[in-house]
């Protein structure tokens, strides 16, 4: 049973007088409990695709359905984690996590409790009253993740969530995200991540959807059948075969560009 279904989605941006097609007939579906990764060269429209799913952008043609209903505006069941964290600098960690709950009119006590709980889950206990300015990049992204999860969404969208972090921090956060995905107590269990890091995609996802250069089309949908936890399988031939396969698809996708 699929949770999300993208059907022939196309999108063109207009800049000055130029029309720039970014998505061309993109169709795919994501099942419950699935971890899907969209990879592609920069500018291929993968972030735009994510924004259409989030209800932040509208497709020119085609639809994205969530449990069979077309998505037209942001929905608290679909949350998002941003590349540059998207934290409000004038709010503390706690206030940042509380904000979306306030919009949903949850009362003060309840939202503080929820926010604290999720900050604790991302291992930020003790940093509730710290401003983003005084947090490291990794900690900021933890706040971003807590904020998204506090809404108790079904789907978590992540737009290159680790690309502005150093590799060591990224590694830790990847594990944290995978732990959250696997946690049976959390309602959030369908993950879609945009990345341009092939190894990261193979390490994390059940399926890797490969897109061509602009305008983005799907050139491959690669199932990653490596057992989890994958940390111990990262030196195996299977892992490298999959990485090579995806890199090859990306190369073909680049050549298709006129």
């Amino acid at each position: 049973m699929s949770v999300l279904e993208a059907d022939k989605v196309s999108k063109t941006f207009e800049m000055e007088k130029n029309k720039i097609p970014v998505l061309d007939n993109v169709s795919f579906s994501v099942g419950n409990d699935e971890f899907v990764c969209l990879v592609g060269p920069s500018g291929c429209g993968k972030s735009t695709m994510l924004r259409i799913i989030a209800g932040l952008e509208k497709a020119d043609s085609g639809t994205v359905k969530f449990h069979g209903e077309p998505i037209t505006k942001p929905n608290s069941k679909i949350a998002m984690v941003f590349q540059l964290f998207g934290l409000l600098p004038w709010k503390t960690s706690l206030e940042n996590v509380e904000l979306p709950l306030e919009v949903l009119d949850i009362d003060k006590e309840e939202r503080t409790r929820t926010a604290q709980e999720y900050l604790e889950m991302v291992e930020l206990k003790g940093f509730e009253n710290t401003y983003p300015h005084d947090l490291s990049g990794g900690m900021k992204q933890r706040v971003g993740i807590a904020r998204a999860l506090a809404l108790k969404p079904e789907v978590l969208l992540m737009d290159e969530p680790f690309s502005s972090l150093d590799e060591l921090t990224a590694k830790t956060l990847r594990e944290l995200v995978l732990d959250i995905w696997r946690d049976p107590d959390l309602p959030t269990n369908t993950f879609i991540m945009v990345s341009h890091n092939v190894e990261e995609a193979v390490f994390m996802a059940d399926r890797v959807i490969v897109m061509t250069a602009r305008p983005g089309r799907i050139i491959g949908d690669v199932k990653v059948d490596i057992p989890r936890p994958r940390r111990s399988h990262m030196r195996e031939a299977k892992y490298f075969e999959l990485v090579d396969k995806i890199v090859e698809l990306l190369e073909i996708g680049k050549k298709n560009q006129h």
């Binding site: 932040l56 942001p74 998002m80 998207g86 409000l88 600098p89 709010k91 306030e102 919009v103 401003y131």
Partner: protein
């Protein structure tokens, strides 16, 4: 180029027709000189502009590239910049009488220069210091040095700043023209021999007290300013913003990929008053070390000393200073605390109005495209009107309406202050709202922040630093303007001039009526102290507090 020539000719023809109409139908004797006066004022401003550009370029580059020069020049120029035009009168008066008619012309240009030059200097300074270290290092590594470094790196980097600075100087020139062309000394008006539009307008308003003529002249002046703005400056600024002049390393991130925003951006760039706002404020609030301040103060004292000396033709002794304190209007000094409070009240009222209106308009102009179409042209013309020239006209109109000169002057004063203060608030708020990072906007959208909640959690906190920057600037310009706005000079001998009580009008009385340099400088010092105190006690603190609101992109 052809289009430009055609537009220029069209503009000149319209001007000729307008001046012909005015000359034919207005009866006052001076009016027949209108074409000559127009020519005189325009040439004066162009000459001063050229001088300012050359001066700003050389000193700006010098101060930005030479550590020792910057230590002395920058704070000193910042100090000069903060002195209102009236503070330069005593210096100019020396020339005035030494060189005859030519001396008066020279004085007017000096006065204009003191209000036009600074923006270009600070623009250049900021742009040169803004050259990224890696670009500077790379060019040095490839052997670029001396003139070649300036030619290939510095000049391309500063062109946009020079153009926007020159545009600002041009507007400031028109703003202060009326003050510069209407020099008064010991209650007597000293007109420039070749006349000028500012002189003519002041004459129409103060001497003939003719409302219709004043309005006609004001429209005439506004037409020249706005037409020139559209014809020349907008084109140049367009080139700057669309990249013709843009140095490679300056990446404009605003509005990329977002519908037609890029176009709107280009259009908005034209009206920026930013060089002054960004650089002057950051310079003043953040950069100075104590040593630099001390050097500046010593230089300033030296300057005061020279002025007092040149004027009195002898070294100022304690006696001369004491004499100044005993001559009129020294008896008013005991009321100084009350006068300061009254002036402060006017400024606070005007600031409050400016703040509210600017926040409202600034947010609406960005968030509602349709309103923007209405707001921008108003902004364009509003910025083009030389507000100081509006002063006599506004007063005449209100006085006719109310029949009470003092109340009319009080209202005129506050309206003048609002009109003057609001631009800085507006442009700072506007560019801040425009620059809210796309990601933050998406966060707001994603979490359903709308209307009031969106303002409270997202927009207002983001623009707070811009509000502070705008406030510093608008208070600065407000103090400058209030010196003119509290005082209505009289042109007939024996008739006392009209004023509302305040430190500004006291300063005018000291300067214009009594030529009492000692009290003039004392009051300028008091004003400077108040401005500095407010910067330290309020603005600097707020800015530091809001610093962590800065969003890294």
């Amino acid at each position: 180029m052809r289009e430009y020539a055609v537009n220029l000719i069209v503009g000149l023809v319209i001007l000729c027709v307008m001046s012909w109409l005015i000359v034919t139908f207005v009866a006052y004797p001076e009016i027949k000189n209108l074409p000559l006066y127009t020519f005189a004022t325009v040439s004066r401003i162009i000459i001063t502009l050229l001088v300012s550009v050359v001066w700003g370029l050389s000193f700006g580059i010098l101060a930005a590239t030479n550590r020792l020069a910057s230590l002395i020049v920058t704070p000193f120029i910042d100090l000069l910049q903060s002195i209102p035009i009236l503070g330069y009168f005593p210096i100019v008066i020396g020339f005035l009488f030494a060189l005859g008619p030519l001396g008066i012309e020279f004085s007017v240009i000096i006065l204009l220069f003191t209000s036009m030059a600074w923006a270009i200097f600070f623009g250049v300074l900021g742009a040169v210091s803004g050259i990224p270290a890696n670009v500077a290092e790379a060019s040095k590594a490839f052997g670029l040095s001396g003139w070649r470094y300036i030619r290939h790196v510095v000049l391309p980097a500063i062109t946009p700043a020079v153009i926007s600075g020159a545009n600002l100087a041009w507007c400031d020139g028109w703003f202060f023209m009326i003050a510069a062309e209407y020099i008064q000394y010991e209650g007597r008006v000293v007109p420039p021999p070749s006349g000028g539009l500012g002189y003519l307008l002041a004459r129409a308003a103060y001497y003939y007290k003719d409302m219709n003529l004043s309005v006609i002249l004001l429209l005439f002046i506004t037409f020249i300013v706005v037409y020139f703005n559209i014809l020349t400056w907008h084109r140049l600024m367009d080139k700057v913003s669309t990249g013709t002049f843009k140095p490679v390393f300056k990446v404009d991130l605003s509005g990329v990929g977002k519908l037609g925003v890029t176009r709107m951006n280009g259009w908005l760039h034209l009206r920026h008053r930013w060089p002054k706002s960004v650089f002057a404020v950051s310079q003043r609030l953040r950069k100075y070390s104590r040593i630099e301040m001390i050097i500046a103060v010593i230089l300033a004292l030296f300057m005061v000393f020279l002025v007092l000396r040149s004027e009195g033709h002898h070294i100022p002794t304690l006696d001369t200073v004491m004499k100044g304190f005993n001559e009129p209007p020294s008896e008013e000094l005991s009321k100084l605390p009350i006068l300061i409070s009254l002036t402060m009240m006017r400024l606070v009222v005007a600031y409050g109005i400016s703040l509210m209106v600017a926040i409202g308009l600034g947010i609406m102009a960005v968030e509602h495209r349709r309103l923007a179409v209405i707001i921008y042209p108003f902004y364009d013309i509003g910025q083009g009107v030389p507000i100081l020239a509006l002063f006599p006209v506004l007063f005449l109109g209100l006085n006719q309406l109310l029949g009470a000169p003092r109340i009319a002057l009080e209202f005129t004063c506050i309206i003048m202050l609002v009109l003057d203060m609001i631009w800085y608030m507006f442009i700072n708020i506007l560019s801040a709202v425009k620059n809210i990072p796309a990601e933050l906007k998406e966060v707001g959208q994603l979490f359903g922040l709308k209307g009031y909640k969106r303002l409270k959690h997202l927009v207002i906190p983001y623009i707070l630093p811009a509000i502070v920057t705008g406030s510093v600037l608008s208070w600065g310009t407000g103090w400058n303007t209030i010196i003119f706005a509290e005082y209505m000079p009289s042109t007939e001998p024996g008739v006392p001039s009209l004023s509302v009580p305040g430190i500004g009008s006291l300063l005018d009385t000291a300067g214009y009526e009594y030529g009492n340099t000692v009290i003039l400088f004392l009051l300028l010092g008091v004003i400077a102290a108040i401005v500095l105190f407010m910067e330290g006690a309020i603005w600097r603190r707020l800015l530091r507090k809001f610093e962590k609101y800065h969003v890294e992109v």
